[in-house]
Each structure stands twice: as structure tokens, then as C-alpha cells.
Symmetry: C2
Subunit: 442 residues, 2 copies
């Protein structure tokens, strides 16, 4: 018999059906065995009656996480036995035949035990099977899908950016090195150079892919590898054109999640964000005045925001503007990379922005320098040797339009949509200083 998904069993009441899945729970009541069976679509109680010799022999060793195929009659449960908590709680499967598809060893802990986070990470191939983890990564799949959907509709072209990059890495301490046939390559911290080069080809491009940061500190906000969602667009007036597309993208993603992941949001107790048509925007100096006036800390001399500042400003944006998102613009030029464009109307400050989302920076972007001579000068001013960037510089040598873009971490975005404290909860297989899947030995 063809396999039927558990969520579709209602249309088979009174008939035979075959389901396949994992055993969640086994309960023996005298000679009757109850198995809660889980597949990708839901779960259902299977009832195996006594005195059917062959069947009991097959069923005897079955434990949690065994994979089985069950054939039997789909029956309505007596009124008193209905489990209101499950969509399939009003039916059960009266099993006639059992086939074991995969055996399992004894589990290292009970499935409803609450685990400390390190144990959760130690056993990801098992712990990712919980309803909670499946809900989180279903939402993540919908976010990246909605991201691409938005930029495809806007006629951006998807590109594939390499991760192995040469001597022309942006540099800094947080770059991984890779021995490369007698030379040294690096792992890209972002697809920055390639997306800018490709604006010279397609005008508007987007991409999704892994990026790498050799961060030595372990926090709830940092990862050594994450999925970056990037877009870059030409023929803009200034950074506000990038902010506008980004605002519409956030609303598109939120709309897609409402339409396609409402069940997961409900299960996780997550709320859809407040996203007004115009996302509010403050210059860093204005934001610092807000912090001083509303929260009593004088950070007006700082070149950047602290995590606490980001939380305060998000609180302020929600109260003042009814928005879970807030742009902070015009950071001081000395804190931004060499390709950052200065605002001629506000010298010393960048035509760039961060996007705060529910207390955390999730996007960084802005307008870029597009004139060759200015970019070479900007490199020199940062102490960088333009000769090391000659490949990248070709794009500018041979004509580039005004352009800008942004990069966004998929895991941070997922965590903020779902209100998860630790970004690693929104990362399937997080890389940390002390862990690549298994803990690294001392």
C-alpha cells in the first residue's frame, strides 16, 4: 500500500492505510501496545492488539526512534479518549501489519528531558528531531525562500560567489587561512568584492551562502560560520534606496511567514513583528541622544553601539514608532571599511546603516565608493596596499555606477523572528571555538 502522511489520515477513517515514521513513545498496557508514531507531517497513536503471534514477535523489541511501517484500520477514537492537543488526536491506527525499517539503540536520555545546551549540541542528530527544533528550521527555510523570492521578483540576478579568496581578503584578525598549493588562501568573511564586481555586470544581484569568521570569543551572538544573505544594487541615489528595498524585503518575509509558518510561530510562542511601511531611522548621534535622555547613559562619545544600546533603542522604536525594526545611520567613517561612502552633507560620517531588529543588529549596509581614484585613496588611508586589491579594483577602473547593498545573517534573522536568545539555537550545526560537531579535544 502506498504510504500516507499522518496529517492526511482523516480522509481514511474506516479504511486501511499505511503510515511510516519514528516511534516517539511506547506504552504497554497489559497485552496491548500503544505506539505514538511521528512522521514529517504529524503524529498518531497506533494500537497493537494481543494474541497475534507473528506481530508481537516483531513488535516486542521496538523502542523509541525505531523506524516502522504500520498498516491497519484508521478508527475514530471514543469521545472520552480524544486528545485535543493533536490534530490527529481523534483517530488512531488499529495495526494489522508491522515492518521494521530501521532499528535504534537505547536513547542517551529521555526525549522529554530538558537538556543543557552543550548536551543538546553534543547530540544534534537526535535533538534536532524534536518538534521545537523542526519548527525553528522550518521557519528558517521559509525565511531564505522568501528572501530569494523577493529579490527574484525585483529582477535581481542570483550569483555564486567563491568562498576561497586570495591575498586580497579584507583582512583583520578574524580571517581563517587555508594552505592552497604552496600559497595561502583565506575563507571569505563576506561576498562583498564579488557582489560589487557583479553590479558592473547585472546591475542588481543577490546571493546566499556561507561566510566565515575566526572569532575567538564565544557569545550568544557570534558564530564561526554562518549563512549570509546579500544584495547589491546599482544606479542608486544614496544609501536610502538600499534601505527602502530592505524595508520592503522585511515586510515580504514577515508576510510569507504569516502565510506559510503560522503553525510553527504558534507552537514556538513567537509573535509576528511590527513593521510599519516606513521603518524609522536615526543617525547614530540622534540614537545616542535618545539613549542619554531616555535611558540615562551618556554614550555620545562612542563610535558604535553596545549590545545594551541596541536593546534600548529597539525598545524605544517599538514604543515611539510601533516598529520592531530601526535603522541607525551615519556611523563615523573610521569605524567602517574602506569601500564605505562618506556623506558629503555630513562629513566624517558614512552613508551607511545598521538595521536593529528586536534588540539586535541583523543587517549592515550602505552606499559604496564607486570611483576608482577615490577607492585607491580610501585604501591608502586605511593603510591597505591597493596592489593587493588589483582584481577587485578592475571593476572600478572600467566604470561603475553609484551602488550599495547589504549583508544579513540568516541565523540572527531567524533568532530575532522567533525570539530565541541564542543564535546557535537557530543554526543547524553551529561552529564555535571549542566545537565542530563534536567538542574539540584540549
Amino acid at each position: 500500500m502506498p504510504r500516507i502522511y499522518i496529517k492526511d489520515l482523516h480522509s481514511h477513517i474506516g479504511n486501511e492505510a499505511t503510515v511510516s515514521g519514528w516511534v516517539d513513545v511506547r506504552r504497554d498496557h497489559g497485552k496491548i501496545i500503544f505506539l505514538d508514531i511521528r512522521d514529517r507531517s504529524g503524529s498518531i497513536q497506533a494500537v497493537i492488539a494481543p494474541d497475534e503471534g507473528m506481530l508481537l514477535e516483531t513488535v516486542a523489541p521496538i523502542r523509541p526512534e525505531w523506524v516502522v511501517e504500520l498498516t491497519g484500520e484508521v478508527k475514530k477514537r471514543p469521545e472520552k479518549m480524544v486528545n485535543e492537543a493533536l490534530p490527529t488526536g481523534d483517530i488512531e491506527l488499529s495495526v494489522r501489519a508491522v515492518r521494521v525499517l530501521g532499528e535504534a539503540k537505547e536513547l542517551p536520555f529521555s526525549k522529554d528531558e530538558s537538556l543543557n545546551f552543550d548536551t543538546y549540541l553534543d547530540y544534534l542528530p537526535l535533538t534536532l528531531r524534536t518538534k521545537r527544533a523542526r519548527a525553528i528550521f522550518t521557519v528558517q527555510a521559509e525565511i531564505i525562500r522568501a528572501f530569494r523570492e523577493f529579490y527574484e521578483r525585483e529582477e535581481f540576478v542570483e550569483i555564486q560567489a567563491p568562498k576561497l579568496i586570495g591575498e586580497d581578503a579584507e583582512g583583520g584578525a578574524s580571517v581563517f587561512e587555508v594552505p592552497y598549493f604552496g600559497h595561502t588562501a583565506h575563507l571569505a568573511q563576506s561576498p562583498q568584492f564579488y557582489k560589487q564586481i557583479m553590479v558592473g555586470v547585472f546591475e542588481k544581484v543577490f546571493m546566499t551562502g556561507n561566510v566565515f569568521r575566526a572569532e575567538k570569543h564565544a557569545t550568544t551572538r557570534h558564530l564561526n560560520e554562518y549563512t549570509s544573505l546579500d544584495a547589491e544594487m546599482g544606479f542608486i541615489e544614496d544609501h536610502r534606496d538600499v534601505m527602502k528595498t530592505l524595508g520592503r524585503m522585511m515586510r515580504h518575509i514577515a508576510g510569507a511567514l504569516r502565510a506559510r509558518a503560522a503553525e510553527e510561530f504558534a507552537f514556538l510562542g513567537a509573535e509576528f513583528p511590527l513593521l510599519p511601511d516606513d521603518i524609522p531611522s536615526l543617525k547614530l548621534r540622534e540614537a545616542q541622544r535618545v539613549i542619554k535622555e531616555k535611558f540615562g547613559e551618556d554614550a555620545t562619545h562612542e563610535p558604535d553601539l553596545s549590545p545594551q544600546h541596541e536593546r534600548w533603542l529597539s525598545e524605544y522604536a517599538r514604543e515611539e514608532f510601533g516598529s520592531d525594526c530601526l535603522f541607525i545611520t551615519h556611523f563615523p567613517m573610521e569605524k567602517r571599511p574602506m569601500y564605505t561612502r562618506e556623506d558629503p552633507d555630513d562629513p566624517g560620517y558614512a552613508r551607511g546603516f545598521d538595521l536593529l531588529f528586536r534588540g539586535l543588529e541583523v543587517v549592515t549596509g550602505g552606499q559604496r565608493v564607486h570611483e576608482y581614484d577615490a577607492l585607491v585613496a580610501a585604501m591608502r588611508a586605511k593603510g591597505l596596499d591597493p596592489d593587493r586589491f588589483s582584481f577587485y579594483l578592475q571593476a572600478f577602473k572600467y566604470g561603475m555606477p553609484p551602488h550599495g547593498g547589504f549583508g544579513m545573517g540568516l541565523e540572527r534573522l531567524t533568532a530575532r523572528f522567533l525570539g530565541l536568545e541564542n543564535v546557535k539555537e537557530a543554526t543547524l550545526f553551529p561552529r564555535e571555538i571549542n566545537r565542530i560537531d563534536a567538542r574539540l579535544s584540549e
Copy 2:
């Protein structure tokens, strides 16, 4: 005035319009200057008349690849001056105002010069701007889009697989090492382990992302980094279930390209493939008999196909079955990785396949071992220490269904769809032993 794409100028004949783009060609005819302007949508001739002082001063230095914004009247060209080769060949822009958006230095070669491939690669930020390169990578974007579209419709869940992997890499000489905080990490050659683990979570998964091969040989078929398109599915009967979904996927991609990239195919002189409902399939031994009988080479003792064999078999499949695709199944177990499932009906041979597409292997896949004890034994038989794979093995220890999947190189697939001889022509920024963007110094 808002910018109008060149392809949309027909609806503005007799009116003023503003276009922006790159200068393809400049021709001075006496005092009249003709500029061919290119944007992402097309190109058009702009005419700048004499004796308008300010304008000429701005226009005087303009050369190929300068980026300009032009405002003027859209005019029908006299019948005799129509350029039939261009969709906008019947109109021109009579320019009133010019704004320079980006300057360009003198080009290193004329744009219609035919370049040797190394020079093409040396100057990618410029050479990718040709119509040919833009057509190739537009097709590539449509292929990856159609791949995801197909598996989303089939309810596969997208996952993000890490590229930095630990000591439990599949191994072999062709793995890049990465110093990782006093330990050694590796760059993934495929998302194999993660997609199998995630079958235990979502049953059906797909992913797209970069993978890395430290190949020391430079050929037209190999890359040191490429984009891998992967899918993995649970609750299959055998490898033929995977082959079926793959066949439907190929037809979906071909259909999407017909619908969305017909113009690019026409420009590149590429033909849409012949893809029958059932893609023909031969066991390796049957394929070797065909080679012996039809092409006169006795390769029946070989454990694999050579590039020449792949070309012959594709030729045979086209003639015999009217198909540009051909599955080759049942390679000897000793040539396949430890997770490969043996066919119980054909001992010594794998429930696995390669897909040949127009003379080249573009996909490898098959059914996997899903029983813990059998997988541990298979590792030992290949001389691998199961302790090094303990994270991956958890998935099997705690219950896995029969499953299988495949991996496919986006660049090879693009090259085969378009009939490009060198896979590097279908790679935006190819990594080779002697090159990462720039040539590596000796």
C-alpha cells in the same frame, strides 16, 4: 526624471526619457557624437548634436565603459538607418542632457577582440560584462532557481550545511585543511553527512552551497570550488526512487529554461536537451558491452568510465533512446564510498548511479546504508575508524529510514545545458591550482 530601462523605450517614442548605462562604443562623425549605451535590459544608440557648449564639454572625455545618465527625446530612426539586429534598432535617443555617473580608464583591449582564456580570466570584472558571459550566468541563475522550485514543490525542506568540518572528513588527498584554533578543520567536499542526518529530521531535504576539492590537476572538467546542488530523501524502496525524482527535476529545469531563458539559448546557439519521460538506464557492465560492440574498445575489466566512454555512451543514448541523459548504475562497491548500499540482487555492485548529460557525468547518487551496525562494518571494511565518525553515526544509532540522494555540480550542469567545452566558462570566478582571481605567484 525616473530612469527607464532601454528595452522599454519603445513606449516613449516622441517623448523625453532618461536612460542610464555603460558606453559600449563611441563614434565621432564630424561634430556629431554617437554613443551605444548598454544597460541590463538592452542597448541603444544615443545621438549628441553639436554646438551645445556645456554638453560637449561633458561629453568630450567619455570613452567605453564610462557610466552615464542620458536624457533626451526617443525618436524613430529613418527607415534606412534601422539596425535589424537590435530590438531597439529602430529608435535612438536624441540627447539633451548628460550626467557622468562613473568614469573609466582606457580599456586593456578592444571589447570585440577575441581573448585567450587566461586573459579572459585575468580581467573577469571587465570580461564578464560581455553579452556572452551575461547570457551564460543568466541561464545559471535560472537553473539554480528551477532546482529549488522543483524541490520546494515536492515538499523537500531547504537546509544550511556547514562547510567547515572536523576530523571526520570523508578524507582522501583532495581535502583542504584549515587551521582552526589549534586544531585542524577541513573544507567539505560535499554536504553528504549533514543531508543524511537531516533525513532523520525532515525526511526530505535539499540544499545549495559551495564545496571544495583540493584537485591538483587542471582540466576543463575540474574546479577547486564549485556550487553543489544536493537532495536526500527518506522512505524510499531503492535507488530507483531517487533516479525518478532526478529525471523529473531535469525536465522541470529544462522547461523553466525554455520559458525564462529562450533568448539566452538562442544567442548562445544552445539547444534544449532531449529528455524522454523515462531516462534510459544501463548497468555499468551493460554500458561496457555497448562500448565494446559499438565503439570497439574492451573496457569490460574497468571499474569506472573514462571521459571518452562517457562521450560514447551519450552518443549512443541519443541515437538509441532519443535522450541527452543516461543513467549508469551498479558500479563495483570498492569504487564507491562507505555509505554506499550494495544491491542484494547483484552482490558486489552498488545501488547507485551516475547521470551522464551530453557526454559528461553531472550527477552522482544512490541509496545509502541506513543500519548502524552495517555502516560501522562498512567503515571498518574501508579502513576507517568509526570513532572518528561518531557524530554522523548518531543519526543511524537512533533510527534512520531507508534513504538516498544525489549531488550535482551547478557549473557542469550549466556547461552541459549550453554546450560549453570548459566548465570554467560556466563559473563566475573559477579557482584553479594556479589562480585565485589573480594568478598565484610562483
